[in-house]
C-alpha cells in the first residue's frame, strides 16, 4: 500500500469511529432520558391531547365517548352557574391570599434576620406549621375557628368581641382559608431568610453612609436585591393557587356538617354557598363525582389557558421589578 493510500483510509476510519462514538453517545443519552421520555408521553403529552379531544365529547366512563362538538363549551360559558363563581374564587385566592402569604413570609424573614438570640427556636416555630400535613392542618383550623365552641371565638368572647362565623360564613370562609395558608408559609420564609442574609453587607454600609434609615434601607437595598426570590415565591404561590384543592375540599366537607344518612356523601363542596368552590374543586366535582368527564376536560382546557396566561403575565411584568445581580441568567 502506498503511503498516500494509507493516509486516505485513516480519515475514513476516524470518521467511522467518530460516528460509532456518536451513536454510542446517543444511546447513552437515550438510556438516561428514557424515564422522562416515557413519562412525558404517557403522563403529559398524551393526556394533554386526550383532554382536548374529550372536551368535545360526552364521556362518563360507562359508555364510549360521544361527540358533542362545542356543547360542553356552550354549557360552560352559557348555562353553568357554578363555573364563574369557581373562577372568581380561584382568582380571589391568587389576588389576595398569595400576596399576603408572600408578605408574611418576607416580614417574618426580615424580623428573623435582625434577631440576635434564639433564632434557631424562632425558625423552628415558624417552620413547623408548614410541615403539618394539609388535611391535618385544615381539620385543626376548622376546629379552632368553630363559631360556637372553637377556642378562637371563645377567647374573643372573653374579650367582649363576638367572633365571626369563620368557615360557616360565605364572607369569612375564604379569609379563614387564607389564615390557614399564612400559617403554613414556613417554606417560603426559610427561602427568604436565606436570601436576606445573603444580601452583601457593603450595600447596607454604603446606604447607611448615605444617611438611609431602617425603612429606606429595606426599600432600596434589601427588596431590590432579593427581588428574584420574591418573584420566585410569587410564581410558586400562583401555581399553587391555581391548583388549590385539598384545604378547600376538607374544610367544606367538615364545616358543612356531618354526612346525612340517606345520601352518605351529600355534596358539601363549596360550603357555604359556593364560597369555597374553587376551580379545581369544581373540576373534581364534575369529573369525579358526577363523572361528566367530557365537561371536566373542557374545564381542564380553560385551566390550561388561564395558567399559561397568568404565569406569562407575571413573568413579563417582573422585568420591571426584578433586578438580577451579576450574570448567571
Amino acid at each position: 500500500m502506498s503511503a498516500a493510500a494509507a493516509e486516505a483510509t485513516r480519515p475514513v476510519d476516524r470518521s467511522r469511529a467518530k460516528s460509532r462514538a456518536a451513536w454510542r453517545r446517543r444511546g447513552i443519552v437515550l438510556a438516561f432520558m428514557s424515564p422522562w421520555l416515557v413519562g412525558f408521553s404517557v403522563f403529559f403529552g398524551y393526556p394533554l391531547v386526550m383532554s382536548a379531544y374529550l372536551s368535545f365529547t360526552h364521556y362518563d366512563l360507562l359508555s364510549p365517548p360521544r361527540w358533542v362538538g362545542l356543547d360542553n363549551y356552550r354549557f360552560m360559558f352559557g348555562t353553568d352557574q357554578q363555573v364563574w363563581p369557581a373562577v372568581k374564587n380561584t382568582l380571589w385566592f391568587i389576588a389576595i391570599a398569595v400576596p399576603l402569604q408572600v408578605l408574611f413570609a418576607l416580614g417574618i424573614a426580615i424580623m428573623l434576620s435582625r434577631a440576635r438570640r434564639g433564632v434557631g427556636v424562632f425558625r423552628t416555630v415558624f417552620y413547623l406549621p408548614a410541615l403539618a400535613p394539609p388535611v391535618a392542618a385544615t381539620l385543626g383550623f376548622v376546629y379552632l375557628l368553630n363559631p360556637a365552641t372553637g377556642p378562637v371565638n371563645t377567647i374573643l368572647g372573653k374579650l367582649g368581641i363576638q367572633g365571626p362565623l369563620w368557615f360557616d360564613s360565605p364572607e369569612w370562609s375564604k379569609p379563614s382559608l387564607t389564615l390557614l395558608a399564612i400559617w403554613g408559609v414556613g417554606n417560603t420564609m426559610i427561602i427568604f431568610l436565606a436570601a436576606v442574609i445573603d444580601v452583601p453587607k457593603h450595600l447596607y454600609e454604603s446606604a447607611e453612609l448615605d444617611g438611609a434609615g431602617i425603612f429606606s434601607r429595606l426599600r432600596f437595598v434589601t427588596l431590590p436585591t432579593i427581588s428574584p426570590v420574591i418573584l420566585f415565591a410569587v410564581v410558586i404561590g400562583v401555581i399553587e393557587g391555581l391548583q388549590y384543592f385539598t384545604q378547600a375540599y376538607v374544610a367544606a366537607n367538615v364545616a358543612g356538617g356531618s354526612a346525612t344518612y340517606s345520601a352518605e356523601q351529600a355534596n358539601k363542596l363549596g360550603y357555604p354557598e359556593d364560597s369555597t368552590l374553587f376551580y379545581p374543586v369544581l373540576l373534581y366535582q364534575q369529573g369525579f363525582r358526577y363523572f361528566n368527564m367530557g365537561y371536566a376536560s373542557a374545564m381542564a382546557m380553560l385551566l390550561l389557558a388561564v395558567s399559561f396566561a397568568v404565569t406569562f403575565l407575571i413573568v413579563r411584568h417582573s422585568r420591571r421589578f426584578v433586578h438580577y445581580q451579576g450574570a448567571a441568567r
Partner: protein, 443 residues
C-alpha cells in the same frame, strides 16, 4: 398408551369443568330456584356497625339456604365509591345504594344490569312492591334494581319539652308547628339559642327540600319530565322556611348548629334534648333506643301546609336499592342474593327489625316476624299512605337536588332575594344538566 392418554384427557376435562368457581357460568342456569355453580361473591353496603351486624346475619341466612355461595360483605361504602368502582372495573357482584337517586345513572348506561330476564325466569313480579319503591327502582321502564328497605320521614317530638310548655299533642299544620316552635325555644342570658323548638336551617341533619316538599304537595317535575320547581307550592314552602329562620336569626342558627353534635352520634341535638321537634327518618327510633332510652319522645306524620290539610298523614319516602354491576363475573349467584334480600319476606322483616327501616314488599309489611318498636308504626303508616311521594329519578342522579339545595341555601341566607326568579333559574340549570347528560345520543 393411547388408553392412558384418553383417561388422562377425560380426567383433565372433568377437573376443568368441575371447578366452575371463577369460570363464566353466565348461561348455565336453567329455571327458578336454580342450581348455580358455587362461587364467592362480594356485596357492598353502606351500612356500618351496628346495623352492619344485622345485615351480615341476614346474609348468613342466605348462605345457609344456598350452600356453595360464599358472600363477602363490605360495609361503609357509598354511592360515589360504587359509581367509581364500576367505572374502574373493580365493582362488587352486588351493590347496595342508600338512595334511589342514582337509579337513573345506573340503568340507562347498563352499569347495573337489567334484571328483567332474571325476574321473569324466577317469577318475581313488579307488583309485590308498593307504588313508591316500585317507581324509584326503575328508570324509563327498565328495572335494574330491586328496592330493599325504605325510609319514611315524619316528625319526632320531645314529649317532656312539649308538656312543659303545655302541649299535649304534636302539631298537625305548619302554622301550629311554627307557633309551637317559637314557644318551645329557649335562649340563654346572652341571647344564644339553648333549646330550639324546630330548627329550619337548610341542609342541617335531614332538612332537605325533598323531605319538606310533600307537606306542601310540591312536585319536582311537570308532566313532560321537565324540572318544575317554580311553583306556588315550593314558593310557599321556602317563604315559610325563611320567615322562621329570620325569626331565629340566621347567624344564631349557624352558631347553634356548629355546637350541635353530629347527626349520627349520641350527641345528636334531638336525642340530647336541644331540639324539641325534628324532621327525621324512621331509623331514629333504633338510634334512640340504643343511645338515649331515657328520652320521652313521640312520632307523628309531619305537619302539612294549612291549605293542604287533606295531605296530613303522607310524607316522603325513598330507600335503598340493590343491583348487580355489569362487571360482575357471577351474575347468577348475585341474582340469588339480590332476590333474597329484596323479596324474601322473612329476610326483609329481620332487616327491618334490626335496623328499623321499612320493609319494601307488601308481603313483608304483613310478615309475622316484623316487630316494630314503639314509634315506628307512624312511619309504616306514612309509607303506606297513598299521598306519600318520592323524588323522580333523573339521568343526573342527585345533581338536581344538589342544585336546588344550593339555591335554597343562598335564598334562605338572604344572598339571593328573588325567589321566583331563582326557582326559574334552577329549573333551567337542571334542565340544561339533563340535556347535557343525554347529549350526543342517537334519538
Amino acid at each position: 398408551m393411547r388408553r392412558v392418554l384418553l383417561a388422562f384427557g377425560v380426567l383433565l376435562m372433568l377437573t376443568v369443568t368441575g371447578c366452575g368457581g371463577s369460570s363464566k357460568s353466565a348461561s348455565s342456569t336453567s329455571s327458578s330456584t336454580t342450581k348455580v355453580q358455587p362461587a364467592n361473591i362480594t356485596i357492598w353496603t353502606p351500612f356500618v356497625d351496628p346495623e352492619l351486624i344485622t345485615f351480615k346475619k341476614v346474609v348468613k341466612d342466605f348462605e345457609t339456604k344456598n350452600p356453595g355461595i360464599h358472600v363477602k360483605v363490605i360495609g361503609g361504602t357509598n354511592d360515589d365509591k360504587i359509581v367509581a368502582a364500576i367505572r374502574g372495573g373493580n365493582a362488587p357482584d352486588v351493590a347496595q345504594s342508600f338512595t334511589s337517586d342514582n337509579t337513573g345513572v345506573f340503568c340507562p348506561s347498563g352499569a347495573w344490569i337489567d334484571l328483567g330476564s332474571y325476574m321473569q325466569k324466577d317469577g318475581v313480579k313488579d307488583s309485590i312492591f308498593p307504588a313508591a319503591p316500585r317507581d324509584y327502582s326503575k328508570f324509563e321502564g327498565k328495572r335494574c334494581a330491586l328496592p330493599m328497605l325504605a325510609d319514611a320521614y315524619g316528625l319526632y317530638y320531645n314529649k317532656t319539652l312539649l308538656a312543659k310548655a303545655g302541649y299535649k299533642s304534636p302539631p298537625k299544620t305548619i302554622s301550629e308547628l311554627t307557633a309551637m316552635a317559637k314557644r318551645l325555644t329557649q335562649r340563654d342570658s346572652s341571647g344564644k339559642l339553648k333549646v330550639v323548638g324546630f330548627n329550619p336551617f337548610p341542609s342541617w341533619y335531614e332538612n332537605v327540600p325533598a323531605h319538606f316538599g310533600p307537606s306542601w304537595g310540591a312536585n319536582w317535575v311537570d308532566g313532560g319530565g321537565n324540572s318544575n320547581l317554580n311553583t306556588p307550592a315550593w314558593a310557599d314552602q321556602l317563604r315559610w322556611q325563611k320567615s322562621l329562620i329570620d325569626w331565629y336569626g340566621y347567624d344564631n342558627l349557624v352558631r347553634f348548629n356548629a355546637g350541635a353534635g353530629d347527626e349520627f352520634s349520641a350527641s345528636n341535638a334531638f336525642e340530647t334534648g336541644k331540639v324539641a321537634m325534628h324532621m327525621d327518618g324512621e331509623w331514629r327510633v333504633a338510634f334512640l333506643k340504643r343511645e338515649h332510652p331515657e328520652l320521652k319522645y313521640g312520632t307523628a306524620p309531619f305537619p302539612v301546609a294549612d291549605d293542604k290539610a287533606d295531605l296530613y298523614g303522607a310524607g316522603y319516602t325513598t330507600g335503598s336499592i340493590i343491583g348487580i354491576p355489569k362487571t360482575s363475573k357471577h351474575k347468577d349467584q348475585a341474582w340469588l342474593l339480590v332476590k333474597y334480600l329484596g323479596t324474601n319476606p322473612t329476610a326483609l322483616a329481620e332487616l327491618s327489625n334490626g335496623i328499623q327501616n321499612v320493609p319494601t314488599t307488601s308481603a313483608s309489611l304483613k310478615s309475622p316476624v316484623l316487630k316494630p318498636l314503639p314509634g315506628f308504626q307512624t312511619f309504616l303508616d306514612v309509607f303506606g299512605n297513598k299521598n306519600t311521594t318520592t323524588t323522580p329519578i333523573t339521568r343526573i342522579g342527585a345533581a338536581n337536588q344538589e342544585t336546588f339545595q344550593s339555591f335554597i341555601a343562598k335564598y334562605l341566607s338572604g344572598s339571593k332575594k328573588d325567589l321566583e326568579g331563582g326557582l326559574k333559574n334552577t329549573d333551567e340549570q337542571i334542565d340544561a344538566m339533563e340535556k347535557q347528560a343525554e347529549a350526543g345520543q342517537a334519538p
